[in-house]
């Protein structure tokens, strides 16, 4: 089974909306069904191609200005990726600079340390509990 990792970097204030959107009953059930069982969120500092320049400023910063962002990591089965991407893109889209970026990469395996389960078993509730 193939797995993918989504790393979403976006503005901090968008995090509650994103979590709420991913927590909708119907959507969460579908996520669970194919093995998405959680998300990991980190508070980070960073900037993109605008070097941290505010949208309204006419000149771009010459020195990088790091802005507070959040990094959300989700691992799921690769077949779910398109639906998940669509929902996340629509939720985070405002049309303004700072909506963020989504990085998608392959995950070769997942290991639950406590039970030693691997692959989708490590993503779902443990069978040994």
């Amino acid at each position: 089974m193939e797995f993918s990792r989504l790393e979403i970097i976006t503005a901090e204030e968008k995090l509650p909306g994103l979590v709420e959107c991913l927590s909708k009953p119907g959507f969460m059930q579908r996520l669970h069904k194919i093995g998405v069982s959680g998300i990991t969120v980190s508070k980070v500092l960073g900037c993109g191609v605008q070097m941290g320049t505010s949208e309204y400023e006419p000149k771009e910063n010459e020195i990088m200005q790091l802005l507070p962002k959040c990094l959300v990591m989700i691992v799921c089965e690769s077949r779910m990726i398109d639906e998940l991407l669509e929902v996340i893109k629509q939720e985070l889209y405002t049309g303004h600079i700072g909506d963020g970026k989504i990085f998608i990469s392959d995950v070769t395996n997942i290991v639950r340390i406590r039970t030693g389960e691997e692959g989708s078993a490590a993503l779902n509730k443990s069978a040994v509990d």
Partner: protein, 476 residues
Amino acid sequence: MGKKLGLFSAVSTGIGMIIATSCFISLASGASAVGVPFIAAIVIVCLLNMMAAASVAELNAIMPNLTGGLAQYMLAGLGPLVTIVTMTGGYIISNIFAAPAEGAMFANVMCEFIGHNIPPAVYSVSMTILLVLVNLRGVNMSAALQSVIAAFMVISLLFFGIAGVVGPGDGGVQQEAVLSADLGDILPLTATAFWLFIGSEFIVPLGKDMKNPKRNVPLSMFLCLGIMCVIQVLMVIGFWRYTPWNELGQADSPHILYAVNLLGGVGRYWIIIVAIFAAVSTQNSIIGCVSEICCGMAKIGLLPAVFQKKNRFGAPYVVILLMGGFTILIEATGLSTGSAVQFLILTSSLFWMLTYIVYHINVIVLRKRMRQVPRSFKTPFFPVLQIVGIVGTAYMMFHISTDPATRIRIFALSAVIFAALAIYAVIWVKCKLKVPVLKSAGVRQVMSMENPMYYYVRHNKNKPDSEKKLEICTKL
């Protein structure tokens, strides 16, 4: 900003804008011309306007929560010339005449209700002053007022419609249901029916104050158009059963005639109250929403910057006061009661139709230019609905009046207004904005214009960066 508006308030605003006392006259005029088959024209126009609403909803999904969204969409897609001409003609000029017309109708109804001892202008001017004060208090208060009024109107009109359909029909009216089944007679009446469904897009500027706007903006537009369609269809059937077609076509207040035939004295007073609410609601929506649109246009440089000044309640008071001033001025002179204003309203509806066509073109342009942008609402069957919408609306424009002489006068006046607006737009864009008149601004630039600091930093270029940053931080 206080409590966010829910779906009910959004639908109320849309219905409040759509229901106007002049709608009853359009409805009676169409129904008396062909009878019950006028329903076909109503349904066709409802569908066409739903297509326009879908295009507006998609534009809103690309550029959500913009203050004067309607203007900003056009600037991003089609450039400043088209934006100034269509927005100023389709919304500002048309509503400058629609607002006092509603005021005059309110005054006439009040005179019938209370008596003719007080001059009609006193009623209309008083109403406008009250609504200006309400709008100056900010959007939530006017939306709350709108919700109550709209709920009463919808329930009442649904009752009048249903009662007309299922009632005993003992009003002594025996008449043909179908006066003409010829498509050549029915289809041109779509232009008359158009007036019954305009205004649902006024929900869009409220998106920034709404709960879950991604869902509620398109949904509320479709809901209010659908609800209005049901009401109008029921009323036409009711007209057939209770009101002679020839009397209906000649009546100055066809809604009162129908209500009296249906329910007697009770119906008369009930429909008078509904008509008063409809006039109040429409003028309230016009003042509130047009001021938001003007504010948005000023924000993106298409109107003088003074229009975006807001009071402590967040209301764009300059535009509200100007709109109120124009309305009161016309109401006080009595011009709004004349047939000239009716003619101007028809002319204005031509511009409104043109605006809907421009929305469709804008969606087609932005689908091509920004194909991959995630949209929370996408018009299905693209570009079929846009093309059908353009063709259908163009057909209505060419049949704006069934009288050829009136049609030519409307076309001539529209051409003059169009030319005047185009000259203003070219001068403003060349001299003030200093950009090519047909070059679109691009979504990124339009979105950044939304930030009040966009203008601050550009108007204070000579200040040192450190001082500017300090002031920006203080303002933010």
